[in-house]
């Protein structure tokens, strides 16, 4: 997660120091691509959106005024870009073909002493988790990803999604309930 020094870098960039932008770009590039990837599970889409995000940050340049943590701000841009992409027609046509490995940017986590069978099982499980995440409505997906992978607070997620903390709490609750239903095989019949 970013620090307030990121705001300092963005202010330096706003004053014309392009090296400050390059530092921010390098610090956030993988985080934003990963976030977008978890949203769509498609590398092409994730990278396209990520470029859009960084270009927006670049264009914001001289007009940047810090109102929140830099990380909150850049993930707000990324979230809106992802939600916009979700609304676009082209994604709806593509979604059926995502299960193929083609769009995958994911690399297996380095060997953790798993057998070939275990590796295959965990790969299958990750695919099921990805499919379950993709089945969530956009806002639930965004709230959960921002909470679980980026560690944002309900308050920050509320700022990012432009809603109250109570609404975020409800989104996260419903998101997790839906994930448990989609991944019922992992939880057994009682859940």
């Amino acid at each position: 997660m970013g620090t307030d020094s990121d705001i300092e870098l963005m202010i330096r960039f706003a004053k014309g120091d392009e090296s400050a932008f390059r530092m921010l770009y390098m610090a956030y590039r993988n985080k934003i691509i990963t976030y977008c990837y978890r949203f769509f599970y498609d590398q092409g889409v994730a990278e396209e959106i990520s470029q859009e995000v960084f270009l927006k940050v670049y264009k914001a340049g001289s007009g940047y005024r810090p109102t929140a943590r830099f990380s909150t701000w850049i993930f707000t841009i990324a979230t809106h870009a992802c939600l916009n992409e979700l609304r676009r027609e082209k994604y709806r046509h593509r979604v059926d073909s995502i299960d193929s490995e083609e769009g995958s940017a994911a690399r297996d986590i380095p060997d953790r002493g798993e057998s070939a069978h275990e590796r295959m099982e965990s790969r299958e499980r990750r695919k099921r988790v990805g499919a379950a995440l993709r089945s969530l409505p956009g806002n639930q997906r965004a709230a959960l990803l921002l909470r679980e992978y980026q560690g944002f607070s309900y308050k920050e997620i509320g700022e990012q999604l432009n809603m109250s903390e109570a609404a975020v709490k409800s989104l996260i609750f419903r998101g997790r309930e839906n994930l448990k239903i989609a991944l019922y095989s992992e939880f057994g019949e009682d859940s």
Binding site: R29, A105, A106
Partner: protein, 155 residues
Amino acid sequence: MNRPCPHSDLLNPYMDGELPEEKRRFVEDHLESCLACADEFQNLRKLRDLLMDCEEVSVSPDFDRLFWKKVDAFEEKKLKNAFRRWLGKNWRLGFAPVFATAVLLIGTTFVKDTRTMMGRETMFFDQMELFQDFDVVNNLDLLEDVSGDGDLEGL
């Protein structure tokens, strides 16, 4: 399925560290005594573990190059737009170089033409002298007519 406990809605914010100290302690005590919540909380943690057990995402080798290309295109467009705006406000100044070039072109052409015309001008003046002679001859004829008229007057 277990009957949902009235306190189960505290479990998500508890796991997310969103509860104030007092409520957090209440949930901790409650989890000791409520089987339904303990079960539900275990499922929430399992879900979190499933989400965290994810693959690393790689970045295409072309990503940086494509991004900076977009930045360059943006800068170029910005520069063009700035020039257009400047031209919109200072269009008279914008014409200055065009005007200066036009003056220069006309100027050089004019100097070249006058140089070639120098020879022709002497010829022109010679011809003017001939015209003047022609006038003298004409005038002589006129005088004859007038003398003729004069004769008539004399009648």
